[in-house]
Subunit: 109 residues, 2 copies
């Protein structure tokens, strides 16, 4: 479709999709912890040597659980090689920004 | 009071107090986030160059918030110099053990 201009929302959605599909990355949301452990294991079994587990806000605790369960129970050769925390500024409904903490845990084998 | 024998509860309380007072350590519990930010800042202002923020389970997200708020908003020269995660085995009420993730974040200035 030549000449089609993306709306701001379409661009946001595309960026979101690209982020979610980031190779070797598992983004932690509201599903059960074991779903994400499975996703991490699938990344490893599809040939990755490194999987990055990302989470924001309350999901940070779950991200640590996912990393710990994966390496303690399933992939014993996996190690946590890096943990980074950041503060992200998200737009809120009132038109301002809200600070939210985020974490990136790198598991390598 | 010579010869006073401590009861089991008194000993437990003393141990708890010693743990809580662990030099340079702030243990994250169920209080408001800003209480712990204040505790970290007090450690720094009392002369520590390094403060360790510890948390278990769901409090892990709050520990990251405490570290991020402290360094972004209050003590700009502070940096996160180490983050360790572990799996701890805690005794549960049914006489077995429960695995719980824990985190230790080291803030240095």
């Amino acid at each position: 479709m030549i000449g089609h201009t993306l709306s701001v929302d379409e661009i946001k959605n595309k960026k979101k999709m690209i982020n979610m599909a980031d190779e070797n990355t598992v983004f932690i949301g509201s599903k059960e912890t074991m779903n994400y452990v499975q996703a991490v294991m699938m990344q490893f079994s599809s040939g990755s040597d490194e999987v990055v587990i990302k989470a924001r806000g309350r999901a940070i605790s779950k991200a640590v659980d996912v990393a710990e369960i994966t390496r303690q129970r399933f992939i014993e050769e996996a190690e946590i090689t890096d943990i980074i925390t950041e503060t992200e500024k998200l737009d809120n409904d009132e038109g301002g920004t809200t600070n939210v903490s985020s974490i990136e845990i790198t598991l390598s084998k």
